[in-house]
């Protein structure tokens, strides 16, 4: 896979990402990414603000065109598309699990989960573990065509294990590589690979 594409892709998924986060999403060495970022900035495809990066309008056009070129084979692979269909089903489950993590039902009304009931929280994290077991084979299938999907599995598992060990923020904190943050980037990634739009 073209490394300069991967860097643009990393910034497209994690806008305002730092170098390490971009390297992570691209599945490249952080050291290798420095040179690629420098070249992309020089070429007017990427803008740098302090230590964060974002795509310029030109960079965005280029990366969108690259998706259809580089992933043509994956897009035509029926098994890959079938794995994506399974992913969307599991995605709905994940969204419900995360919502149940953040909210709880009190006397028939939904209010914010204040995490004062460990039994409730444990059951939700149990369900997150079940979702994880379902997404594992799907990501492995994605990785047959697009190897970087294997990285998501490791990152999801790391977040899951921290959540299981009682660090609640690793479920859905938007400022960390929490389970939900990684999942959403993964979802964004697969949609870009397939050239699809997200459905709410």
């Amino acid at each position: 896979m073209n490394e300069s594409h991967l860097v643009l892709h990393g910034i497209a998924v994690k806008k305002h990402g730092g170098r390490d986060a971009i390297a992570d999403l691209a599945g490249l060495d952080a050291a290798a990414v420095d040179g690629l970022l420098e070249a992309a900035v020089a070429g007017g495809r990427v803008a740098q603000v302090e230590d964060k990066f974002l795509l310029t309008p030109a960079g965005r056009m280029i990366v969108d065109a690259q998706y259809s070129r580089f992933y043509a084979a994956a897009r035509e692979d029926a098994e890959f598309r079938a794995a994506h269909e399974r992913f969307e089903i599991v995605n709905n489950e994940l969204k419900q699990v995360i919502t149940d993590w953040q909210t709880m039902s009190v006397g028939g009304e939904k209010i914010a989960n204040d995490h004062s009931d460990p039994d409730y929280d444990d059951k939700v994290i149990d369900r997150l573990g079940q979702v994880h077991e379902k997404v594992e084979p799907i990501l492995k299938r994605f990785a047959v065509n697009v190897p970087r999907f294997a990285h998501y599995l490791a990152k999801l598992e790391a977040a899951l294990e921290k959540a299981e060990d009682g660090e609640a923020k690793w479920v859905s904190d938007a400022t960390l590589d929490s389970y939900h943050t990684v999942w959403f980037e993964l979802h964004e990634d697969i949609l870009r690979v397939l050239g699809r739009e997200r459905e709410e």
Partner: protein
């Protein structure tokens, strides 16, 4: 001792309370309700001794099979029903239960004992063939998923025969008799003791692997057998606002899952009082007993079967922030709990949410409503509407208050959501990205406002009332509540101040101001930055982690606009509660 039916099996008859280590938490609470003279469906427990023997030997220990047979006979005698057969079939639930509740253990299998013949008997008994079919379907679904770990295709849903065929198609088998199904379910509970998640949890929490789990087998009761049957939930006090009156919902002629499914609209508790006054009074008395014995507000699930009340579960009630405060203060005033206990039951986060800015009363009167949406994260936020996340961030950094309005949000918008005082979307519901991230960030958020509804507001000043679900034109007047204005919060503040390990004040005495220190908005960096300072303010010092860092660094005074949440966080940290 409850009545022993053998070395490994006890019948819970209320005669004495066996130790939690032997029967697990769930059976223990059933036994305790029985000991208090409260009505509970008949239950037996297969003890943790049996689990340990099973894990040692890899199979049921000698005698267990016969003792389970005796347990079934006891349940049959208690209920006047028969398992897996007859015109009055006995159905049971099978659940795991360790002394310490633990994730990763087997979920509950319900309705065990149903098959084609008992489905027909149940249909005749209840006069409701649909209910009997549904009971059969639910059993197969749970048995397949939990005991057999089979995946049922949606196409088989609803038809027991198709479900069984789908299970067999995966090389698995639903045993022919209820006894064999019960055996397999008990074995699955024992095996779940060694699931990946349970093992990890025990290791992390230093819980010995040798404890083992018990298995509770309990008769199912039905709330849909006749007009004198029903099911519901009762809170010993109102969990939303905290009023001391019991609060509940009742579904006439319905089964427990109907309450959860949302298929039926529950009636208020008064409908139970009108229909079955004696049952209603017994229920209220039971709630008071359980609240008094447990020293906390209870959430009780109950079923009425042919005019007879059964309590299914009672536990400390989940509560909204306002109710948490009211319960805590009321129960101290009633002499039920100590002030220190009351303080432990109100979290800093709950008080912070009560102190969030809100609209001045009457502020929305006459204000034009520009859009309505589903409330994803409560709160109030105002500013000028922008539709681009980069622009939101830029204008926020320039000191402007902005409301981010998008058709939908994606990970590319997170920086804009962080900058915004409120977030609006046009598509998506309570599980959408905007809803999830909005709640995670604590940003007031309305979702699903409708195609073209909010992005069209670009450039206008609006107030988002994410408590009421509306977007109002203009910047409406907002107040920040204070803990001294509210008598309940003022009372908690007084108790907290008497016990707090550090001084927390809203008057600045020249404290070291972390707002002027690089990196002090990150609680993880506070330990290094706090060294040598006695009195501090600003940065992340008011967060739970910030307060813990201040305690650890030996800070003596924190200056905060709202002292109560800081004191509650300090008390929690000094108790060693998990953050």
């Amino acid at each position: 001792m409850a009545q022993a039916l053998g070395e490994f099996v006890l019948a819970l008859d209320g005669s004495a309370l066996p130790p939690r280590e032997q029967i697990g938490g769930k059976a223990w609470s059933v036994a305790r309700m029985l000991a208090l003279g409260l009505p509970v469906p008949p239950a037996v427990v297969i003890t943790t001794d049996a689990c340990r023997a099973y894990l040692d030997q890899g199979h049921f220990p000698d005698g267990l099979e016969d003792q389970i047979g005796a347990a079934v006979a006891w349940l049959e005698a208690q209920t006047g029903r028969t398992l897996g057969d007859g015109d009055k079939p006995l159905l049971v639930s099978v659940r795991s239960g360790a002394a310490i509740s633990m994730p990763g253990m087997m979920d509950t299998v319900l309705n065990l004992g149903i098959n084609d013949a008992t489905e027909a008997a149940l249909a005749a008994e209840s006069g409701d063939a649909g209910f009997a079919r549904d009971t059969h379907r639910r059993f197969l679904e749970l048995y397949a998923g939990i005991v057999l770990k089979a995946t049922l295709p949606e196409s088989s849903a609803g038809d027991p025969r198709a479900m069984v065929e789908a299970i067999e198609g995966q090389g698995l088998q639903v045993p022919a008799t209820a006894r064999e199904q019960l055996h397999a379910a008990v074995e699955a509970v024992f095996a779940s003791w060694n699931s990946r998640r349970a093992k990890r949890y025990r290791k992390h929490h230093d819980i010995p692997d040798s404890l083992g789990t018990a298995v509770t087998v309990q008769a199912m009761v039905f709330g849909n057998l006749d007009d004198r049957s029903g099911t519901g939930v009762l809170f010993s006090r109102n969990p939303l606002h905290g009023d001391p009156e019991p609060y509940g919902e009742y579904l006439h002629r319905a089964q427990g899952e109907d309450v959860v499914s949302g298929k039926f609209t529950p009636e208020p508790l008064s409908s139970l009082r009108e229909a079955l006054p004696e049952v209603h009074d017994a229920l209220i008395a039971a709630a008071q007993t359980l609240e008094r014995e447990n020293g906390d507000v209870q959430d009780i699930e109950f079923t009425v079967q042919r005019g007879e009340l059964f309590l299914l579960q009672s536990r400390a009630a989940k509560r909204a922030p306002a109710a948490a405060v009211r319960f805590a203060v009321d129960m101290v005033n009633e002499g039920r709990i100590e002030a220190a206990t009351a303080l432990a039951r109100v979290s800093a986060e709950q008080v912070r949410s009560l102190l969030k800015p809100r609209l001045v009363e009457g502020a929305t009167d006459g204000a034009e409503i520009l859009a309505r949406g589903e409330i994803a994260c409560q709160g109030v936020g105002a500013g000028v509407v922008v539709t681009d996340s980069d622009e939101a961030e830029r204008r926020h950094e320039a000191g402007e208050a902005v409301v981010l309005a998008r058709a939908t949000t994606s990970p590319e918008d997170v920086h804009g959501m962080i900058a915004a005082s409120a977030v609006l979307t046009e598509q998506g519901g309570s599980t959408s990205h905007a809803a999830v991230v909005g709640r995670a960030l604590g940003v007031p958020c309305l979702v699903g406002c409708g195609e073209g509804s909010v992005t069209a507001l670009a450039g206008r000043e609006v107030t988002v009332d994410a408590n009421g679900g509306a977007v109002h034109a203009g910047l409406l007047e907002v107040v920040s509540p204070s803990e001294t204005d509210d008598p309940l919060l003022a009372q908690l503040t007084q108790w907290a101040a008497e016990r707090c390990p550090i001084t927390v004040t809203d008057t600045d005495d020249g404290a070291f101001d972390l707002d002027h220190v690089e990196g002090a908005e990150d609680p993880q960096r506070l330990p290094a930055l706090l060294a040598g300072h006695d009195s501090v303010r600003g940065g992340a010092i008011e967060s739970d982690a910030g307060v813990a860092a201040a305690l650890a660094a030996g800070v003596s005074t924190i200056v905060a606009r709202h002292p109560l949440p800081v004191m509650l966080a300090a008390l929690a940290a000094s108790r060693g509660d998990d953050a």
